[in-house]
């Protein structure tokens, strides 16, 4: 697995894998009728959340970069010694690790079923740009279902909840007890947490 990436590819990988917020001005040039045109493209990338791990599909193996590489090394090889660095001229250094197909499946299982990470798999499109092909999160495993549930051993359920809160104005509660009565009220109706929590402050 030779890792001689061009400067441009490393830039791309760094953008996608890095946790930093990148705003990059990419300009490339091309010849046309003996004139050099400069083309500017504005590329901005949202910050990668620390809970998302990005894999790059290189058809016969997968690579991970920057923080993700360190995580994979720790999970799969129990050591960061296998993490290598690519440093092409005129580009920042980028750490990487390569995973075989088997290790990729192991890593997926660990991330999605045990450690609760989101996973994105990037593939190289025809225009040699990396794009997201598969996405999964602990509650939404559909993309990797066949991989994860091959063995009969995985048993965990995958339920997901949606939660919505509706706050309506404010409920007014008047307090007109003597302190002794408040204590009595607290002990007799332990389910009204609102009252309890706020009234204890009053007593103290």
């Amino acid at each position: 697995m030779c890792r001689c990436e061009s400067t441009k590819t490393v830039h791309q990988l760094l953008q996608i894998s890095g946790t930093g917020n990148y705003i990059l001005l990419v300009f490339d040039w091309f010849w046309s009728s003996s004139l050099i045109h400069l083309r500017f493209r504005f590329v901005s990338h949202h910050q990668k959340p620390a809970t998302t791990v990005r894999f790059f599909d290189r058809s016969d193996y997968y690579s991970l970069h920057a923080e993700d590489a360190l995580l994979a090394a720790k999970v799969i090889f129990k050591s960061v010694a296998g993490v290598k660095t690519m440093a092409p001229p005129n580009a920042d250094e980028l750490q990487y690790i390569c995973l075989s197909r088997g290790n990729f499946e192991l890593m997926l299982r660990e991330l999605l079923l045990v450690q609760n990470y989101r996973v994105e798999v990037y593939t190289k499109s025809a225009k040699s740009e990396w794009t997201v092909e598969y996405k999964a999160s602990p509650g939404n495993l559909t993309a990797f279902e066949s991989l994860l549930f091959q063995s009969n051993e995985v048993v965990s359920g995958t339920s997901i909840i949606g939660l919505f809160l509706k706050v309506e104005g404010a409920r007014r509660v008047s307090e007109s007890f003597s302190h002794a009565q408040v204590v009595l009220c607290c002990t007799t109706c332990p389910r009204t947490n609102h009252l309890k929590s706020n009234m204890w402050y009053r007593i103290i």
């Binding site: 809970t51 660990e110 079923l113 045990v114 450690q115 609760n116 989101r118 999160s137 602990p138 509650g139 939404n140 495993l141 559909t142 279902e145 066949s146 549930f149 009969n152 051993e153 995985v154 048993v155 965990s156 359920g157 995958t158 339920s159 997901i160 909840i161 949606g162 939660l163 919505f164 809160l165 509706k166 706050v167 309506e168 104005g169 404010a170 409920r171 007014r172 509660v173 008047s174 307090e175 007109s176 009204t192 947490n193 609102h194 929590s197 706020n198 009053r202």
Partner: protein, 251 residues
């Protein structure tokens, strides 16, 4: 005389179990500490939660979810739409209707009337992209989740009682079998058995009649030891994970 003002907050929860093809809704008034919600998290044990935001009034919920190791995914506020026409239409497609039953989610008015929970469901269904996958259509069941049926447990209680093994331990390992209540009880042969046992441990029943019924079945197996060994050693060994393979056959 002092006056206090408390926000009157209604929590709507929609739970989607993709393998069991089950959607359950629940809507309840909760206090500042979301005690009821925490009990619900223990009962449902979700892996992920879809929220419109993680700050403001959701800040407390966010900390609660993190404490219960539930992953939070933020989606657009607009997905939690109050307009139920879209989600009712999705439900019409997703739900399984008995023969002769009117094929419309409106017949389940007691469920679909829970508007806050329906907003949550709309966002969850969109997030999962359930409607896009034709395998899902006409297979889901919709129901209400009634927390009163189960013993109220919070995360601290579950941890202190050693109810569940550490996540990720394989059911075959010694750490699973001897280091938690679930592990000691769980001698199931099939993956669906493991899941059911986990559910029973997380959802202890309160109704005496139902507990008795469960015990009667256990008694039946205790007495018929031949049948039990035959089932356990021969028949159940050959059972695949029906819930999962069901989905893969369809695809």
């Amino acid at each position: 005389m002092t006056e206090y003002t408390f926000p009157n907050q209604t929590v709507g929860v929609a739970c989607v179990e993709q393998h069991e093809r089950l959607i359950s809704l629940s809507e309840f008034d909760d206090d500042d500490f979301f005690a009821e919600l925490e009990a619900m998290l223990v009962v449902l044990a979700p892996k992920e939660c879809v929220l419109p935001r993680t700050d403001g009034e959701y800040a407390r919920i966010h900390t609660l979810l993190e404490r219960n190791s539930v992953m939070v995914s933020v989606v657009k506020r607009a997905d939690f739409t109050a307009d139920t026409t879209g989600i009712v239409q999705d439900l019409n497609n997703l739900l399984y209707f008995e023969k002769g039953q009117q094929e419309s989610a409106h017949v389940l008015a007691d469920v679909t009337g829970q508007l806050v929970a329906m907003s949550a469901l709309a966002a969850t269904v969109k997030y999962l992209g359930l409607v896009e996958d034709s395998c899902n259509l006409g297979h889901f069941h919709l129901g209400l989740l009634n927390l009163k049926r189960f013993v109220h447990l919070d995360a601290a209680a579950v941890y202190a009682l050693n109810l569940l093994p550490r996540p990720g331990t394989s059911p075959a390992s010694a750490a699973y079998r001897w280091q938690s209540i679930l592990g000691v009880l769980d001698r199931c042969r099939t993956p669906q058995g493991h899941r059911l046992m986990a559910q029973w441990v997380k959802q202890p029943l309160r109704n005496e009649a139902i507990i008795k019924e469960r015990h009667d079945i256990v008694e039946c197996f205790v007495e018929a030891s031949c049948t039990r060994t035959d089932l356990y050693d021969n028949i159940l060994r050959k059972m695949p994970d029906v819930m999962v393979s069901d989905a893969s056959w369809c695809a």
